[in-house]
Amino acid sequence: MKSAFSGPLEHIGCNCHRIPKSYKAGMRVDGHIYASPTLLEQVRKDQAADQVANVATLPGIQVASIAMPDIHWGYGFCIGGVAATDPAEGGVICPGGIGYDINCGVRLVKTNLFLDDVKHRMKELVKALFHTVPSGAGRSGRYKFDTKETRRLMGEGPRFVVERDLGTLADLEHTEAGGFIDGGDPEQVSDHAVKRGAEQCGTLGSGNHFMEVQVVDSVYDADVARAFGLELNQVCVMIHSGSRGLGYQVCDDALAAFRNCTTKYGIELPDRQLVCAPAESPEGKKYIEQMRAAANYGFCNRQLLMQQAREVFADVFGRSWEDLGMEQLYDVAHNIAKLEEHTVEGVKKQVWVHRKGATRAFPAGHPEVPEAFRAVGQPVIIPGDMGRASWVLVGAPGAMEKTFGTTCHGAGRAMSRMAAKADAVGRKIEKELEQKGVIAMASSRFGLAEEQPKAYKNVDDVVETVHDADLSRRVARMRPLGVIKG
């Protein structure tokens, strides 16, 4: 089943490899995969590249079906996939191009602590985080919202929780889209979805989601790091989670609702999971309203996760979180579709940019970059694996020219879950990590085994590729000190 990709991947410069339109019937544009020579070997190992070609068949797709260097085999879309569709040309909205975990994303919180302040307290800190922040399959949280409140929360975004003293207005300013995606309609979200989400806001979930205490390990761009307020040996908290059961259910509902759309709108698809509808159709518009509401829930979830981390730090270090300088650097989504203005073949257009495991990376001067960073560009937060590194990058002009303002989202898996689990038999992953200076706690036995560092590509290679292609530039490398996982 997991056969190698034998199709064409022609190098066209800047780490970009082309799958020509002629590769597969129905492709409307070429495929573009960004990968260094080393990463390209891994790309060839499975059918992810074929999925890039499949996405190229979507109606209204512009320029190319794009994949980032952390590409791996997904369902429908590959992970690391980017596709922009033009609604004026019958362009579609594709729930599979966003994913089940709508607005899965990453938030980075700074502190004024340094490595020496925390290194002897990591066990205590990780234990406190693990016991306070709910993680693991289906866990409910301490913040319970009834269905009416859950709908309000989706309608207002994290402002709803900030008004309840669970954060500050500055947090909102340092969130993609100001923490609120307009045009959502919580009333369109099904009761099932609301029920799944009502008790899960402020919970990490499972799979690859995590909360990490990290230290700035190297600074690559001193000027941008200064603008971001990052310096060597500074301690930060990284949060990776999404819209929990609510988002999964919104996607599920859309897949069912779109089942007949392919026949209705005459769309031919090579994979049922790519089921889609024209963005301007009644079905498409309804899903967009639901998806935007779910995305606002995702921002709220990370807001509440951050707030719990702030409280734990305050408890452990005996100072208020404000006193500990726990300001949010930025929060950015990597599973989402946004209507954005881009220049396509010299013409400015509003297009639906689908980012499925890919991160927005707007350069300096872009009006959507918060004022505080507009002179340098948008902070891009890239979670890696729990043993090696994560990164802070900054948006670069090349992304606007080549990838609809998009860069990578992480390390990308190199091993399947079952292979990683088999590989971990007889080993103690926690001990191995501790020897490397990382304290890890997980609520599931399988969690650490399936998510062990070896299961991922080296994030440094992925980041080098996007840096060299000018999709985003290196600012700082972060090393994990403590990890909690589902």
């Binding site: 997991k2 997904g74 429908g76 289906g138 029920k195 996607c251 399947s416 599931s444």
Partner: protein
């Protein structure tokens, strides 16, 4: 008979059975095996009736697994035993299990959703085979 198979970041469920009815029951058990570390720890203490309409067997399998997952997500019930009758217009089933008890059921994965990707219900070697990929 059922098993889990590899799919990079996700998991595959596979079942074989002599009849379609047993195939759907086996896929219910495969779903449980992806969710809990020890499926045999789940006792048949409550029973729920499930009716799903639909003529397409593959979409019916998808809807069946989706319904079991939704009941876990919203009612916290894990299902371990199934009597399924598949007809030309849908399915009628009795699912038996018990509410999730953290002290006895270690959860293995959070299954986010069932996907359409490579969803399969086919006749093979005089019996039936089904596959579905679940998102982890």
């Amino acid at each position: 008979m059922h098993e889990l198979f590899d799919h990079t970041a996700d998991l595959g469920l596979r079942a074989t059975a002599p009849t379609v009815n047993e195939l759907f029951a086996e896929m219910g058990r495969a779903l449980l095996a992806s969710m809990v570390e020890d499926p045999s720890s789940v006792r048949a203490e409550v029973s729920e009736r499930i009716e799903i309409a639909g003529a397409d067997r593959e979409y019916l399998l998808f809807d069946w697994l989706k319904e079991l997952l939704l009941r876990f997500e919203t009612e916290r019930v894990l299902f371990a035993e199934f009597d399924v009758t598949v007809s030309a217009t849908g399915l009628s089933a009795v699912a038996r299990g018990e509410p999730h008890d953290e002290s006895r059921h270690a959860l293995a994965h959070e299954v986010k959703a069932i996907t359409y990707h490579e969803l399969k219900v086919v006749e093979r070697d005089g019996g039936w085979l089904a596959e579905a990929i679940v998102d982890i």
